[in-house]
Symmetry: C2
């Protein structure tokens, strides 16, 4: 048992900055964790101990004093890295070696992080799944599309990982694997060097071992975002079922509702929010826009090598081809018209609570379940956090979603710390 | 005098598809044009006849029957190409050789186009200018930031070129150099492999030798956009001065107003549109958002090598640092609230008319003049076209801007064809 088994990135970087532990020791610990279970988990599509060692050896100067000094990071394989291939889980890109790092990878390295390797994604971050298994139950999916990043986190292969989300690709795996995840407001994090799917929604996000880690990485990847130590005191939450609550599995609903009671008992205020009927179309509008934008984003591949695309991507493109320009325009207009109504519903609250997923991780590796509880908020670009609920030994993870108003990312991180404190006993102040 | 001196891409590709001219002859013509004047114009930052020849030799199959068969294209040097360096006019990227083409470059090649070379941009498509001169008057700027693409078009180095626009970077050079230019609605064209500046505004656009060319390239780069042969008949235009009309030079205003008379005389209807007072803040809000997003997009470079950034970029970052998170949020909220009001103003019209710039190309190569007449519409993501007004020999170009409602790109192209027909006698039907 090592401190590094449970230490979050905040603590690891602090230990490295104060020379209590060396970056090499940190890297070796996580490499050993990986070697112990990677054969059964398959989180990595590219793992290169030599490239990792090179980064550790070259870590010096400001990076060694950085916010993420010596912290190993798993990087979803739709994000460019100069020292690993970037393959999008597509046979078309097996030989793709980018010449430079994605913007976010460069920022991580400048803050002292070291890239552990590239983690499995679905094909182009869409639906065709890879071989990755859920570390909590190998017969189950870790969720998609940020599958390798989530599974690697749950298996202890790295304490931080990058993912992306267009519908539920970051938070769904977090719910299935019991992880802290943060998807910031749309547009805050540079997507330079990241393969687009549906640019109206595509957002980079990350996994950490605590809400504090989520905030720490936000300081690195969102320059100018002010994050503060959360003051104590009561917070005010909305609780929003959305039109998909009827699909939720009863034990998941029970666990979520019980967590609201805990929050109330801790002195916070939780008020139910009922959405106007017109919000019922949001799920379909997200799907339609995702289809049309996805088809445009993958037009290059579809034109040149349709035989190399999965049935899932081909089905998406076929749906897009059967959608008129006017239908897409109307879907975007409907979402734009709903945004101010939703904003008004957020106004009384520090954050909104809801389900992250309607089920625990399903059996099998091919299907990963619906993303509706995530995509509802994605349609409006809102910041989202997954907080794993406390579970008894042997129980599969369930996630509580905490959602902020647009660009209220700092307030959301504060609210999530209070939720995590009340539910999981996490420290408010370090 | 060759057909290729004036032939547009539509005609060139037709000649190539029907084997009336070979891709090699086309490439050799434009290379000869380039060799004759490139020393004084400096449109190219990277020109490689061997790479051009390789493309011509390898042109076969569907590409040789493509919409752009054999058409040479100039590519702004913030857009990745696998066979040329991509340097962003920054010393930080002198050795940057991307491993793959930007999405749009790949689509162009798949349609049969050949890449002539990389054209000069300002540093990171912001304000630090390069050496490019205006072919119509070497003592004047071609405008920025798509300087090399615009100057190369005006000098006859290529019949099509790619640029990008965040404020006025595509249309301003078009106005100064007398070019047809199209900036589509925000979000329609994939930006994969293009360096971001302000992602809320960044849009790829292009120059062509006719409105027909603008539509032809739209078919290649916006899969799914329906473009039709324009029917004859009257069109209905708004004419919008914006709050910057007072800054316009009198001869420019006179030429623009005279063009409205020509349109009316041709049977079209032109109605003045007066914006509500609250639109006066749009220019400042665009600037503020551009600063904040630009600072985030260039955080990697600023953190690692501030000494390599221009004073213009440093000033942008300093302004961003003095802007609060709440100020940026408020600026975005103001634009979002104005968008439906503007949409209602567009409703009665096929398109809106206005100035592209308030001046002809200014003297000198360092300053390129304000972009306010372009950035006003950019703030709302609207599609924009520049139509060069007819000018007497020796007169510098002036551009008329034609603006469409959001995602009404097809209608805008139709309206622009009618404007060009009335003003310049361009054929409506080919």
């Amino acid at each position: 048992m090592s401190l590094l088994d449970t230490a979050d990135a905040t603590l690891i970087a602090e230990q490295v900055r104060t020379a209590r532990i060396s970056p090499r020791e940190v890297a070796e610990h996580f490499l050993a964790q990986t070697n112990a279970r990677e054969a059964e988990i398959q989180a990595f599509v590219s793992l290169d101990p030599a490239a990792l060692n090179k980064q550790v050896v070259e870590l010096k100067g400001p990076a060694l004093k950085g916010l993420l000094a010596g912290v190993p990071v798993g990087v979803k394989d739709i994000i460019d890295t100069h020292d690993h291939p970037t393959c999008f889980y597509s046979p078309l890109y097996q030989d793709n070696r980018p010449s430079r790092d994605a913007h976010v990878v460069a920022l991580l390295r400048q803050a002292g992080a070291v890239i552990m390797g590239k983690t499995h994604t679905t094909e182009f971050a869409y639906m065709q799944t890879g071989p990755t298994r859920n570390p909590l139950d190998l017969s189950r999916t870790p969720g998609s599309s940020s599958a390798g990043s989530a599974a690697g986190m749950a298996a202890g292969f790295f304490p931080v990982a990058l993912g992306t989300q267009t519908a539920g690709s970051l938070l769904k795996p977090a719910s299935y694997c019991g992880l802290y995840a943060f998807k910031p407001s749309y547009g805050l994090v540079s997507l330079e060097g990241i393969k687009p799917l549906a640019p109206s929604f595509d957002t980079l996000g990350w996994y950490g071992r605590s809400v504090g880690d989520l905030a720490l990485i936000a300081r690195v990847l969102i320059p100018g975002l002010t994050t503060t130590q959360p003051a104590s005191g009561r917070r005010t939450f909305g609780f929003c079922r959305t039109a998909r609550w009827g699909d939720i599995e009863p034990p998941v609903a029970d666990a979520l509702l019980a967590s609201l009671d805990v929050l109330s008992a801790a002195g916070h205020r939780v008020t139910q929010v009922v959405l106007p009927d017109e919000f019922v179309g949001v799920f379909d509008d997200h799907l339609l826009i995702n289809d049309c934008e996805g088809a445009r984003s993958l037009a290059k591949e579809w034109q040149s090598s349709p035989e190399s695309l999965s049935p899932q991507v081909m089905a998406m493109i076929e749906r897009a081809q059967q959608t008129t320009w006017e239908q897409e325009t109307a879907a975007k207009a409907r979402l734009a018209a709903l945004a101010p109504i939703l904003k008004a519903l957020f106004a009384p609250f520090d954050a909104m609570l809801g389900a992250t997923c309607g089920m625990v991780a399903p059996l099998g590796l091919e299907a990963t379940g619906p993303s509706d509880f995530c995509k509802f908020w994605m349609a409006f670009g809102l910041p989202q956090i997954n907080i794993p609920l406390p579970r008894a030994p042997g129980e599969l993870p369930i996630g509580l979603q905490v959602v902020g108003d647009y660009r209220s990312d700092s307030q959301l991180l504060d609210a999530a710390m209070h939720v995590d404190h009340a539910l999981n006993g996490a420290c408010l102040i370090r």
